[in-house]
Amino acid sequence: MAVATLVALSLGACGEGPGGGADTSEPGSPIKVAFEVPLTGAFAANGLNQKNGFELGLDTFGREVDGHPIEVRYIDTKGDPATALTSARQIVQEGVTVFQGPLVSSESAAVTPYLAQQKVPVDDLTLCSEVQLDSWQKNGNGYSSGWSCDHPALMAAQWAYEDMGWRNITIAAQDFSFGWEVAGGFKAAFESLGGTVDQAIWVPLNATDVSSYVSQISQDTDAVYAEMSGVFAVRFIDAYKSYGLTGAIPLVGITQLTDQSVLPQLNRDAALGVMTGAQYCDGIDTPENEEFVAAYKEKFDLYPGYYSDAGYVKAQIMVEALKSLDGDYSDPEAIAEALQSVNIEAPRGPVEISDKTHSPVQNVYICEVQEIDGDLRNVPIKTFESVPPEGPLEYEEWEAHFRHDSAGRPE
Amino acid sequence: MITVDDVHTYRGLSYVLQGISLQAEDAQCTALLGRNGMGKTTLIETMMGLLSARDGDITLDGTSLRGKEPFQIAKRGVALVPQGRHVFSSLTVEENLTLAARGNGEPGAWTLERVYDLFPNLNRRRKNRGSDLSGGEQQMLAIGRAVMTNPRVLLMDEPSEGLAPVIVDKVGEVIRLLKQEGLCVFLVEQNYGLAIETADRLYVLAGGQVVWQGSPAELEAADDVRHLHLGV
């Protein structure tokens, strides 16, 4: 029995021939794109939005470059770093031209060293860890087209201190690296301006009951800054209302807090007036965005969320870059270089990849949940234009905090 | 009338009942005697359907009980007073009694009141849990519980076990009363005295087979049987 299966395995292993880089020399041969994305698990909604955005982007910008069809294979990582790594190994062995994803920061941290070692061109969405930063700076094979994790938080801190005049703030964040980066960025910027973070509440990813964390928020803070996503965002905002905080203490958050991936599930009264520091809001008033929102709504009957925009931008950058290569996709280094040199006008505004951090220089918005034509929408109330990844901080100061926070909770 | 016809029963891998045939008449007490480990309890459990016979048949008034579940056999009118009493320890005395109550509506049927009349001790302790009773009270309860189903056949497995003589006398009285009411009482005993005094017909079991049958007087006379198979 054991022997039989081993033999079968061994035949399977030998039968499919040598692996390695994708062979794209033949005319009409496919460009192999691997897309790791969580389609199940806690991050599934984000993953699905991103996939939808990517599909719409391919529809818009083309599924074929110079006669080579773009062949996308989506791999469900379940939000689990170990799965992401195992799948990455498997798919890279089978040959890949461009690697997209993964989405979750811990997945990126797991996959990045392997992809760097294999010199695979990769666009992994968000820059959240020291591992990525080091790897991009050293190998240049990858970048994050979405944003660096703390980017919107840095500007939200500046806005909170300067525009709103808040001095004491409570932070509530999910207890994982994305949460650490976001909360740490907010804290670093807010404190460097002179403010105080009086309480930090960390919600474990496996928390059974989010509202028991909400009930820990003290009544005498100026405002709450929240990093919550998916069902945690829904629970958090609901609990915020039911424990009597809505209307009493302003709630500001990361993009995901009121992103369209959760907004329809929110209690209307609880959601109205919640503000976010965001790199994309569905209510951005530009032709690019209006076109994108209309197309997205037509195709999926939903308003696009930030992850939809991110998927769309990924496709836009990739197609533009591939076009610049004149049909030669044999050199991973050239592909990586091309991907990072594209400057585009995206729904979220102009996007340019920074040489220092390999993450975007782009607009950051402060948005507010408003009701427009009976729908809840995120509407920009302030725009910071073409902000570098370090935001209001000095670059060295930013890099120090960034490296520190990606390894553990900020103090 | 309950008839056991060439019954073979295994317990796990051991072949315990090796072809037993016997018969218990209505309004009589039929007793089965034998040493420890000879298969007496196995026979009772087979009759009640708690163990299934590999071969042979058991009939109640001509209807086969083969393959019937214990509760079906009980519903047909067979009741069990098990060895070790096994009263429901977490139930009160009254709950123990009413649990299986199946009044047949006839005058003279067993009711809670009649059981309490017969065993006044139980009446006094009716709110106590089964586990709080003494051994004798538990035996009374086990008998009371069995008759509350208004059975036609009563199987009793060593009702004298571990009881003071005066309680054993009480058991004897109850058996005689039930006989008078027309019940078919099938008694498995080690207590030679109780069996001799209450039974109308006796069987002796050894090595999974019936080795002797007869009346009490015949057994009193059969010294060799008593000595060899009963150690008496």
Binding site: V3, L9, P81, T86, A109, A110, V131, L205 | G12, T41
Partner: protein, 367 residues
């Protein structure tokens, strides 16, 4: 070896024959694994080599379950968590800058310490309560791994950048690593075989059969079970060390309920109380996870159904079926030459014969 007793000879020879056959199996298996690893690295850059390596690692952990459950009668549902403990035992010191060898030693010490401590609890309960307790222990380790962020990195897990080197052997080379795993696996099999054949193993089977009786034969049964628990946990710990170096990463999911169940499943599907059962189970389940999942999305459903079917229809497990068949053949051969040798029932004794009604508080735990 005293086989002079007439009549006993056939049985013993049959048993030895079986052992000899098992040794041939072992050689064959190792040879095949060798071939497989080499060919997969040559042709596919290591993915299948990786898969085989993972199979062997999980087989080691499952052997721990098989040892305690199959021979001692105590089925653990926390083995993956102890595997995770071994892995974190390496990963935590290494992320604080320890060198790999130091980390391995720390991991072994930590796992041993936890095994010694939890053993005190483990030997206090039996049967179902034991299973539940191991499950709870596993969930607690899982909870610690995900919530003790400062140490474990939370849900991100910890990444291991380098594996140790030993003279010319660099475990950073995946082929070398795979063969190291193979060597450890063979050692684990030999250890298990030795343990089972020893007086200790004999007593353990006795405890499974009737613990009370062993006590009145002079055995401090809790001591035996305690030692077995520690051995079982150490199998998981060693597997965890190999796991973290092979994977380069350990995350809390590796310790969760699903993984705990899967390791137990490996031991049960393969056959509790058999030498090769856990390995067979590990191969089958890893194939389900990595191979069937390519073609059939609902592979977990199939795995669950297969598992339930094995529990119902082949409680001795897949390898148990094979040995049962082999033993029956041996017996038939023997029976031709000898008189009066019955077919040997394989597996556990039935419930003890008791001359009274079944009593729920004394019901035997069977499996």
């Amino acid at each position: 070896m005293s086989t002079h007793t007439p009549g006993a000879g056939a049985g013993v020879a049959g048993w030895q024959g079986l052992l000899a056959r098992q040794q041939r199996w072992l050689m064959l298996l190792i040879g095949l694994v060798f071939l497989l690893i080499v060919s997969s690295y040559l042709y596919r850059g290591g993915f299948y080599g990786q898969l085989v390596t993972q199979m062997l690692i999980f087989a080691i952990a499952a052997m721990g379950v098989g040892f305690l459950g199959g021979y001692g009668g105590m089925v653990s549902l926390g083995q993956a968590s102890f595997l995770g403990l071994g892995a974190y035992g390496v990963a935590v010191p290494m992320s604080d800058g320890a060198d790999p060898w130091t980390a391995i030693v720390i991991s072994l010490v930590v796992t041993l310490a936890v095994a010694l401590l939890t053993g005190l609890l483990a030997v206090r309960v039996r049967g179902i309560s034991f299973v539940i307790m191991t499950l709870a222990l596993g969930q607690i380790l899982f909870g610690l791994a995900s919530s003790w962020v400062d140490l474990s990195g939370g849900d991100n897990g910890l990444i291991i950048p380098v594996a140790p080197t030993l003279g010319p052997l660099d475990l950073n080379d995946p082929i070398v690593l795979s063969f190291t795993v193979l060597v450890v696996f063979v050692l684990a099999v030999l250890a298990l075989r030795t343990f089972v054949a020893s007086p200790f193993g004999l007593a353990l089977r006795g405890i499974k059969s009737n613990e009370q009786r062993l006590k009145t034969l002079g055995y401090a049964t809790r001591l035996h079970l305690y030692i077995s628990w520690v051995i079982s946990v150490m199998f998981a710990g060693v597997a965890g060390i190999l796991f973290v170096f092979t994977n380069g990463l350990i995350t809390p999911t590796a310790l969760d309920f699903g993984h705990n169940g899967i390791v137990t499943l490996m031991a049960v599907i393969g056959g509790l109380g058999t030498l090769w059962g856990p390995t067979v189970g590990a191969i089958v389940i890893m194939l389900f996870q990595n191979y069937l999942s390519l073609y059939f999305e609902r592979w977990a459903t199939v795995m669950g159904i297969v598992f339930v079917a094995v529990v119902i229809f082949a409680p001795e497990g897949l390898w148990g079926l094979v040995t049962k068949f082999a033993r029956r053949l041996t017996r038939q051969k023997a029976a031709r030459g000898q008189l009066g040798i019955n077919e040997v029932p394989v597996g556990d004794a039935g419930a003890e014969t008791e001359s009274e009604l079944p009593d729920p508080t004394t019901e035997k735990v069977q499996q």
